[in-house]
Amino acid sequence: MADLIKVENLVKYFPVAAGNVHAVDDVSFAIREGETLGLVGESGCGKSTTGRLLIRLIEATSGRILYRGRDIASADKKTLHDMRKEMQIIFQDPFSSLDPRKSIGETIGKPLEIFGMGSKREREEMVDALMEKVGLSPRLFYKYPHELDGGRRQRVGIARALSLSPSFIVCDEPVSALDVSIQAQILNLLKELQETMKLTYLFVSHDLSVVKHISNRIAVMYLGKIVESSPSLELFSNTLHPYSQALLAAVPIPKLNRKRERFILSGGVPSPINPPSGCRFHTRCPWKMDICSQEEPPLTDRGGGHFVACHKVK
């Protein structure tokens, strides 16, 4: 399977009064066609920004984003516009990602209208089909977002993302704002759609258990950098980076006898405006060595596609 998406040295700095927020700092990864890459991390790690950079909702400060081999980071407006048909996004908040003044039929059909696909009647039929595909009754066509619950609204967002038949979808925390019982419905829907429509996902989330369930590979981010990336199951059975270990250990498990041990980090996340020197995690790392505050560890392959950025892990 070829790489559908290849990201090389992606950087995004946001200028603020006190300096630059290093939101995404030299991030590289690849996603194969038909695969799901899970991007995991806590708030401020840069995962949402990365997702938006990939589809150029935000412009990168530097770096290359290759879609089927073509660099879209520097593409012109026309190419970018066409590319929208291939790369789409599902947002986190089902409340604010839908225009409250538009019926859901209108919202789902808008991309079709923008790209001039078919007559009005044909578009309506396509919208009906899309609604069915995501489990919404076409009878809800004229409903407004405020008349629907969170789960249904999120389905509208999914239908909208699917309308142009894209190949790649960035899922930005698509289930985080939903009730647990609805989360499971939407996750299953996303998996189903991936199979039937041959989709490739970048699944951004802070929830490790959700990411594990849906991803083939997972990349863990901390303060704008990828600290570990590996095939999904491998990350859980053989967690190498201390931050990944802490993250995994912190997930509360609804079971009586948990298998893993306590690993509680001290302190908080440093400011992204002035990230720590060397390895960004060294301020909280229980295994810190001298070299950690001086030199940044490169992301190296430990075998089997398992990459880690850590001086300690040899």
């Binding site: 009730d179 647990v180 912190a250 509680i264 908080g268």
Partner: protein, 326 residues
């Protein structure tokens, strides 16, 4: 003191809105012993927060009305207390921690003063004594005491929540109600805060009601669990009983739809259907439209509660005279 610290019996709360009457809490009953922690679990709209507000006497009064029930705290019915009497209870004997640490603290008052306010009000300490105690409380929640002069915006989210915990514990209340206290926090910070809450709970022997939608969090800190759905408690029991032997189809559904991080492959089985409309709850058992084991009687008759050694289930599958399964 004999008997449970808190006993809630037949609590019913409605909200009168223009669109109709919302039956927020329907016949809720539970009890809590001193020093123990109860996890009140449910999804949005289940009625958990309204239950907590009822205990605190904070249900917004139009449009909310407590139509019946009793909330016995240390033997006295809080629902019969006047506002003046409740003011002596809040922050003193019963404290509440809310979800959002960003908005729980007054941004223009220093952290130290916010902690000592309760001390001055309830324990008649002088300001100097209260200040000293406030610094001690900060140390207890692992924040350097000299930071008591700082303002909330100078703290991170996790630290702010710890300040809120310090405020709640300042007067050594018998009961703390924590409404989704870690939901807005990052998972590693959540682990810190839960760890802290566990150790403080032991140290102060405080009883706690932990409201959450996250069964994992319940597993970390709670001794007992009560599962709420559509304003009713559908199942309640000890942690071992609920985690080891959940009976109610909704509880089972909740466990099954969470991806298991420890298993290699996990299939998640969603609960079909949608949350019930609080203006128009289903007749009979409120869960019946979504229940994979729905029987005819479930549609019309509200199930009774079967008590099996402290493990209570509200379900016809286990009803008296019904097909009781062990």
């Amino acid at each position: 003191m004999n008997g449970p610290l808190l006993e809630v019996a037949d609590l019913n709360v409605i909200y009168k809105t223009y669109e109709g009457t919302v039956a927020a809490v329907n016949g809720v009953e539970f009890s809590l012993e001193a020093g123990r922690t109860l996890g009140l679990v449910g999804e949005s709209g289940a009625g958990k927060t309204t239950t907590a507000l009822s205990i605190m006497g904070l249900v917004p009064s139009p449009p909310g009305i407590i139509t019946s029930g009793s909330v016995n705290f240390a033997g006295k019915n809080l629902l019969s207390f006047s506002e003046k009497e409740m003011k002596k209870i809040r922050g003193n004997h019963i404290s509440m921690i809310f979800q959002d640490p960003m908005t729980s603290l007054n941004p223009v008052v220093t952290v130290g003063i916010q902690i000592s306010e309760a001390l001055v009000a309830h324990q008649n300490l002088s300001e100097a004594e209260a200040e000293k105690k406030a610094m001690e409380m900060l140390e207890k929640v692992q924040i350097p005491g000299q930071r008591y002069r700082e303002y909330p915006h100078e703290f991170s989210g996790g630290m702010r929540q710890r300040v809120v915990i310090a405020m709640a514990l300042a007067c050594n209340p018998g009961l703390i109600i924590a409404d989704e206290p870690t939901t807005a926090l990052d998972v590693t910070i959540q682990a810190q805060v839960l760890d802290l809450m566990r150790s403080l709970k032991e140290e102060f022997s405080t009883a706690m009601i932990m409201i959450t939608h996250d069964l994992g969090v319940v597993g970390e800190v709670c001794d007992h669990v009560a599962v709420m759905y559509a304003g009713r408690i559908v199942e309640t029991g000890s942690l071992e009983q609920i985690f080891g032997n959940a009976r109610h189809p909704y509880t089972l559904g909740l466990f099954r739809c969470i991806p298991d991080i420890e298993e290699e492959t996990s299939k998640i089985r969603p609960i079909e259907g949608l949350m019930p409309d609080p203006l128009d709850l289903p007749s009979g058992c409120p869960f019946h439209p979504r229940c994979p084991q729905c029987m005819d009687v479930c549609r019309t008759v509200v199930p009774g509660v079967l008590d099996d050694g402290g493990h209570r289930v509200m379900c016809h599958l286990y009803g008296k005279g019904g097909a009781a399964r062990g």
